[in-house]
Symmetry: C2
Subunit: 245 residues, 2 copies
Amino acid sequence: MSHHKTAAILVIGNEVLSGRTREANAYLAAQKLFDRGCKLGEISVVPDIQEAIVSTLNRLRDRFDAVITSGGIGPTHDDITMDAVAGSLGVTLLEHAKTLELMASHYGHDKLNDGRRRMARIPDGARPILCDKSICPGAHIDNVYVLAGVPYIFESQLDSILSDFGDSERPFIRREADVEFPESAFAKELERIQLGYRDVEIGSYPRMCGNKPCGKICLSSSNRDALDKAFEAVSAMLEELRNQT
Amino acid sequence: MSHHKTAAILVIGNEVLSGRTREANAYLAAQKLFDRGCKLGEISVVPDIQEAIVSTLNRLRDRFDAVITSGGIGPTHDDITMDAVAGSLGVTLLEHAKTLELMASHYGHDKLNDGRRRMARIPDGARPILCDKSICPGAHIDNVYVLAGVPYIFESQLDSILSDFGDSERPFIRREADVEFPESAFAKELERIQLGYRDVEIGSYPRMCGNKPCGKICLSSSNRDALDKAFEAVSAMLEELRNQT
């Protein structure tokens, strides 16, 4: 199969929208996608509401090569992601026979209650995403990857699908330069450098060091040669500023 | 004016999508909106690309009472949020006279370079959002609040607009119960409780404590009475489970 060059992350979680939980899965996935040169184009966090999940998933599926979802695949009433994904794709949910078998041998046949059976459901036509942290599978169907919200399970499932994304031989690379000037001192010149290196994404991230402006200029690219040249141009610009002051 | 009952947050930032920075502003705003009983309906993170910002802003503006944006209002080439907001609303950007005055007296007239002038631009018809952490204003126009991405400035600007959102007298309140069972042991009963308390949002957040399933059941509502009753029902359910084991 061809590897996804762009991706979006859809986080399903009232706990993030209510400020209870600081989102961690999208942050982890962003780093792993960067390291494989796969462009993460959007992160969206929506509530545990079927209509919100379906409409956001449809939008993201359409705009990006693939969508990774996080959350909402447990056994409780608020776990509706599998239903929403099936709805979005116009398929039904099926109990995955192999997962039921695994559950039966793990918990015992008599312990296969409704909650556990619920977690064995994946969309018709999906491939289960298995990992060694959970019996309950994620699901891959079309360009959607449905992963758990619990961080250690999310990470383990993510690792098992990452080879579908980008290329570990062509990662994005990042270089950063320390800045001890206000952004307004170099904004114009930095734009000139950016225009000269279309392959390189250049951002400026200011902060305060005590009462003095400081920060980082951050460059990233999958083209190492262009990155190094742009970085040299930024370094020369900063050196000249230092000489002027 | 009437207070916004629902809101969305739009984070503009390549640094979040590339995994360089763990998003913090949406997390802070989520907590503050919760404490004012304002429902945060979506968080979206998009890149520093005008089309992405405009289309997402239009979508969110349409679905929620108000949108808070974070990031992209500095002087550098990647700071295009004000342009995008003006584009979304069909207005032009104007240099804000009072801000230019403040800048001139702070930096000196001769130090008002293009970068600084760029930061004094707000959409025509907008109210500047001022705070004591930055001379450069945010902007409030229609149902959009444009705030800085630098966290300490974001927080200060956010505090100055929060009274437009929800009502501090009617906050959402949260209660949590500790759980030492797998979710499948109580999923069905928890759904029954949820159906009895439509006013209360009930979520289950499992994790592992060593090699044993554990977690929290989290309840929130702006209705204290309903919250307390639902919490009692959950506590009774857990107590019964404990007596069974």
